[in-house]
Assembly symmetry: none
C-alpha cells in the first residue's frame, strides 16, 4: 500500500464519521430527498398492467440501447413518460416525462391541487390518450412519481436571469457607462406573488437592490429583500446598500494603483490608511451610523479592519475577506489586538 493510499484510509475513517453526523442531522431536520435513485417508487408499483409492462420494455430498451449505441436520433433512448407513458426525451423536474407532461407540471404544480376535481373520485389511470381528461389525477400522478415542484424556478430567479441577460446584451453593445449600470440597478421590480393574496405584480422600488461589488465578474448581484421586512429594516438595509454602492464607486483606489509588481501583499495590506478611508467612506453614508456615538463609530471602523498577520499573497482573496469584514458589526469592546491563536 502506498503512503498515498494509507493517507486516504486514515482520512476516510474520520470522514465517514463526520459525514454520518451531518447526514443524520440533515435528515432529521430537513426535507432532503435522498431517494434520488428510487425511480420506481411504491405508487408506481401499484400502477396498472400496461404501464408497468411498458416500464419493463423501457428497461430493456435502455439496456439494449446501451449495448448497441447506434440507436435512433429523434428519441435517443426509447424513454417513456412516467406519467402518461408517451415517448420521453429525458428528465424533467427529476423524473423522466414527455414534453406535454413537463409543460403540464410546470403550469399546474404550484397551484393547489384541490382546485382540480376528479369526476371519478380520483381513481383515473393516466395514459397517453386520456391524460387531458382529468387534471386532478394527472397532477396526482406527477407527484406520485416524485416530480419535484421545487425545481420550478421562482419568480425571483426568473427575474434575476432576465436581468443578467439584459445586462449581457447591454454589455455586448457597448461598454456600460456608470449611468446605465444605475439604470439597470433601479429597474422596477416584479415581486413574487404573495401566498394567499391575489396581487399579481407589485412595484416596490426598494424591494430589491443591486449591489455591484468590486471584483465581481458580474457587477450586478441582486439581493431580493424579503417582502416581510419591516419598513424600518428595509430603510436601514437600503441605506447600507446604497452606502456600499456609493462607497464602492467613490472609494479611492489609488492605493491599489500605487502598487507595482514589486509591491508585496503585506505592504499593500499594511497600508491601513486607505482601508480605513474606504471604510469610513462606506459608513458615512449610513444615517444610522452618524447617530451612534463617536466611540462606537471608531470601534466599528477599527474592528472591520483585519491586520495582516499572514503573508497572504492574493489580492482577490483579500478583497473577499475585506468585503466580508465590512459586514461584521461589533460593539462595546475597547481595544482589539487581533490574533488567531486562542490560547495566548
Amino acid at each position: 500500500m502506498s503512503s498515498n493510499e494509507h493517507w486516504n484510509q486514515i482520512c476516510n475513517k474520520s470522514s465517514t464519521y463526520f459525514e454520518e453526523c451531518s447526514i443524520n442531522f440533515a435528515n432529521n431536520l430537513l426535507n432532503i430527498d435522498i431517494n434520488y435513485f428510487n425511480i420506481y417508487d411504491k405508487t408506481n408499483q401499484e400502477d396498472n398492467e400496461k404501464i408497468s409492462l411498458s416500464n419493463k420494455i423501457d428497461e430493456y430498451s435502455l439496456q439494449t440501447s446501451m449495448t448497441n449505441n447506434s440507436s435512433a436520433e429523434s428519441i435517443p433512448l426509447n424513454l417513456i413518460c412516467g406519467v402518461c407513458g408517451a415517448p420521453a426525451h429525458g428528465y424533467n423536474f427529476d423524473q423522466i416525462t414527455c414534453e406535454s407532461c413537463r409543460a403540464f407540471f410546470r403550469r399546474n404544480a404550484l397551484k393547489n391541487m384541490y382546485q382540480f376535481e376528479c369526476r371519478f373520485g380520483g381513481t383515473c389511470v393516466i395514459n397517453m390518450h386520456n391524460r387531458r381528461q382529468c387534471t386532478h389525477c394527472r397532477l396526482k400522478k406527477c407527484f406520485a412519481i416524485n416530480m419535484r415542484k421545487d425545481w420550478i424556478r421562482t419568480e425571483e430567479e426568473r427575474r434575476l436571469r432576465q436581468l443578467k441577460k439584459l445586462y449581457k446584451q447591454k454589455k455586448q453593445l457597448n461598454e456600460l457607462s456608470l449611468d446605465e449600470q444605475q439604470l439597470i440597478a433601479n429597474l422596477p421590480l416584479v415581486v413574487r406573488k404573495k401566498k394567499g393574496t391575489k396581487s399579481l405584480i407589485t412595484r416596490q422600488v426598494t424591494q430589491e437592490l443591486v449591489v455591484s461589488k468590486i471584483e465581481s465578474i458580474y457587477p450586478i448581484d441582486t439581493f431580493a429583500i424579503h417582502r416581510n421586512l419591516s419598513n424600518d429594516d428595509r430603510i436601514l438595509l437600503n441605506n447600507i446598500m446604497n452606502a456600499y454602492k456609493l462607497g464602492a464607486d467613490q472609494a479611492d483606489y489609488s492605493h491599489i494603483n500605487r502598487c507595482t509588481s514589486s509591491t508585496t501583499l503585506v505592504q499593500f495590506l499594511n497600508d491601513e490608511t486607505a482601508i480605513y478611508e474606504s471604510l469610513i467612506c462606506f459608513y458615512k453614508q449610513i444615517p444610522e451610523f452618524k447617530k451612534s456615538n463617536l466611540a462606537d463609530q471608531v470601534l466599528l471602523i477599527k474592528s472591520n479592519v483585519l491586520y495582516p498577520s499572514y503573508s497572504l499573497s492574493d489580492l482577490r482573496f483579500w478583497s473577499e475577506l475585506y468585503s466580508c469584514g465590512t459586514q461584521y458589526i461589533p460593539t462595546g469592546s475597547s481595544e482589539h489586538s487581533l490574533s488567531l491563536v486562542p490560547g495566548r
Copy 2:
C-alpha cells in the same frame, strides 16, 4: 418563502457555528488537505451521468463494469473527487476533483456566491448524482475543501495567452496586418507572475496558510492532515476534530426541536443558552483550550455567539452577517457586550 424553507434555514444556522469554529480554526492554523472516503467501490466509479438514466441502468452498469473491471487505464489512481465523489484524475486548483467539478469551479468560483440560491437553506449534501441540482451548495463544498480560486488565471493572463496564440498562428502564415501588429504592440506584455505556479510545484513543501472565509454548510467531512504538519499541530488538530465530533454527538439539539412553526428566527437565535452550551461542550474537549486562562476561554465562547438585534427576515443576508461574525476571533480584550446595534 415557505415556512418549510424558513425552517430549513433556521436549523441550518444552528448547525453552522460548530463548523465555523472548527473549520476556521483549523484553516487558520494549517493548510488542510481534505479528502473523502471512497464509499463507492471501484465499480461505481465508472458510473456516469448519461448511463444512470434509471435505477435499472445503474444496476446494469454496475454489473457490466464488474465484469470488465480491470480497465483502470482511464483512472489510474483511485482518486475521487473531494466535492462530489466522482472518479478524479488529479489535482485541480489544489484539490483532487473530477473533471466536472473542475470546470464548475472554474466557471463559478469568481462569481459572488450569493447570486446562487439554495432551495434548501444551503444544506444539500453533494454527490455525483445531485451535484448539478444546487450550484450554491456545490460551490460551497468546493471552498470547503479548500479549492483555491486564486489559482484561476486572471482575465489579463487569458487575454495575453489568446493573443500570443493568435500571433503564433498569424506569424506562421505571414498574415499579420498592420493593425494587428499595432494591437499586439500596445498590449501590456508584462505577465503578472503568478505565485500560484510556484505553489503548484512546491505544493508539498510550502506550508501556506489558508484562511477561508467560506462558511461551510457541512460538518467537516474529513480532514486529511497534511503530511508536513508538525506533530504538535497534528495533535492539536486531532483534538479539535474529536471535540467537534463529540460536540456534534452530544450536543443538545432540543432547542431546535423546541421551535414550532411560529417561532421566529429572532427568538430562535436569542436562545443563547443552548448556543453557549454547545460551544462550551465543543471547546471543553480540547485540552489546549483548558490550558488557556479562564478569561480567554470566556472570550472565545462569547465571541463566537452573535446576538440578533435586527428582525431581518431575509435570512440570506442575515446568514452572511452571521457567518462573518463567527470568524472573528478576538483576543486579549476583557469584556464584550455583543450586540449588532452599533450606537447602543
